[in-house]
Symmetry: C2
Subunit: 199 residues, 2 copies
DNA sequence: GTACTAACATACGCTTTGTATGTGAAATTC
DNA sequence: GAATTTCACATACAAAGCGTATGTTAGTAC
C-alpha cells in the first residue's frame, strides 16, 4: 500500500517549503519574496509556513542551514581528496569561491542571510564552512605546515576573503577570467600562514 | 538678515534626511525603519523623501555613500601617517577593522547594504575603501615591498578579510580581546604578499 | 503680473506580514 | 470503539508600509 505515515508527510511538507523558498529567495530576494506565492506554489497556504517555521525569518534560517551544510560538505570533501595537507586547504578555499558562484548561494547566503540573520559566524548552523576550515587548519598546524596561528582568527579571515572573492567573481563580466585571479590572490594571501616561504 | 537661500535649505533638508536615516537604519535596520517615522523626526513627510531620493533604496544608497566616504578618508589618513609603506597598509587594514566596530557601520554598510544594494564592489560610490587599498598596494609594489601581485584581486581579498574580521570582533563577547587576535591574523595573512618573508 | 517650476504635503490603493481562529483527520486514551 | 486530544494545516482579519498620483505653496523668470 502506498500509504505514507504522518511523519513522512510532515517531512515532505517541510522539504517542499524549503525547496520552494530556495528558488523564491534566490529569484526575488528575501524581501521581495511573497509568502503567499511561495506557499501556493507547493499547494499550501501561509498557515503551513507559520506552523512549521514560526515566521518568514525562520524559513530563511532553515534554508540557509541547508545550503550552508551542503557547501561545507562539498568543499570539505574536495579538500579531503588531496593528499597534500596544504593543497587540501587551498582546494577547499577554491571550492568555496566556486560554490559561491551559484546565484542561489550568492543571494541567499552571502547577501540576504547576513542582513536578516546577522553575522554568519553566529548562525545556529554555527557556520559549518568555518568549522571545516578550522579543522583543516588544525591539521596543518599539527603537521607543522603553518606557523602557530590563532586557528579561529585565521579561519575567519580566510573564509571572509574567499566569500568576498566569490562576490567579486560573480559580479564581474568575465567570471571565468576573474576566477583565476581570485584564486591566485587567495593562494598568495594564505601563503602568509606557511612556515616555509613557499618557493 | 538670517534669510537662507533656497539652495541652502535644499541642502539642509537632504542632510537632515540622511542624518535621520543613518540613525534609523542603524537602530531598526533597513527593513525595520519606517519612512513615515524617519521623515517625521525631522519635521517632514514622505513626500520630501521621494522627491529627493526617489525611493527608500535611494536613501540608503545616499547614506551608504556618505559612510563609505567617511571610512575611506579616515582609514587612508591613518595609513598616510605611517612612514613605512608596509605599515601604512597594515594600519589601514586595522583601521577598517576598528571603524567597523561602530554599530552604524556594521548594520548599514556590512549587513543591510549588500543585501539591498548588491555587491559593495559595484556600488556607485565605487567603494572608496577598496580604491584606497589599491592605491596603497600600488605604492608598495612600486617600492618592491610586495611581490608582483594582481592589485585589484589582492585588495578585494584583503578588504574582505578585514570586513569579516570586523563582524567577528563586533559580535564577540569580548571585543577588545578579539580585536587583537583579528589584527594579528590580518597581518599574518597580508605577509603572504611580501617579498621578504617577514622575520 | 503671469507662467512656470521646485519642494514639499496629502490622500489613496495595493501588497504583505503576523495572528487569531476554525477544521478535519489522525493519534491517543480509556 | 467511542471520546478526547493533538497535529497540520486553512481562513479571516487587522495593521503597517511603500509607492504613486495629485494637490499646494513659495520662489523665479520674463
Amino acid at each position: 500500500m502506498t500509504r505514507r505515515s504522518r511523519a513522512e508527510m510532515l517531512k515532505e511538507t517541510r522539504a517542499n517549503l524549503i525547496k520552494a523558498a530556495r528558488s523564491a529567495f534566490a529569484e526575488k530576494g528575501y524581501a521581495g519574496a511573497s509568502m503567499d506565492d511561495l506557499t501556493a506554489r507547493v499547494g499550501l497556504t501561509r498557515g503551513a509556513l507559520y506552523h512549521h517555521f514560526g515566521d518568514k525569518r525562520g524559513l530563511l534560517a532553515a534554508v540557509v542551514e541547508e545550503i550552508d551544510s551542503d557547501m561545507a560538505m562539498q568543499a570539505h570533501e574536495i579538500g579531503q581528496r588531496q593528499t597534500n595537507s596544504w593543497e587540501a586547504l587551498m582546494k577547499e578555499g577554491e571550492a568555496y569561491i566556486e560554490l559561491a558562484l551559484d546565484p542561489e548561494i550568492q543571494r541567499i547566503v552571502l547577501l540576504d542571510g547576513p542582513s536578516v540573520l546577522g553575522d554568519p559566524a553566529q548562525w545556529p548552523s554555527q557556520n559549518r564552512c568555518l568549522q571545516a576550515t578550522m579543522t583543516t587548519l588544525e591539521r596543518l598546524m599539527d603537521e607543522s605546515f603553518i606557523k602557530p596561528v590563532d586557528i579561529e582568527a585565521a579561519a575567519r579571515l580566510l573564509n571572509g576573503a574567499a566569500m568576498n572573492a566569490a562576490l567579486w567573481v560573480a559580479g564581474s563580466d568575465t567570471p571565468e577570467k576573474v576566477l583565476g585571479r581570485a584564486i591566485h590572490a587567495f593562494r598568495q594571501l594564505a601563503s602568509g600562514l606557511r612556515i616555509s616561504p613557499d618557493r
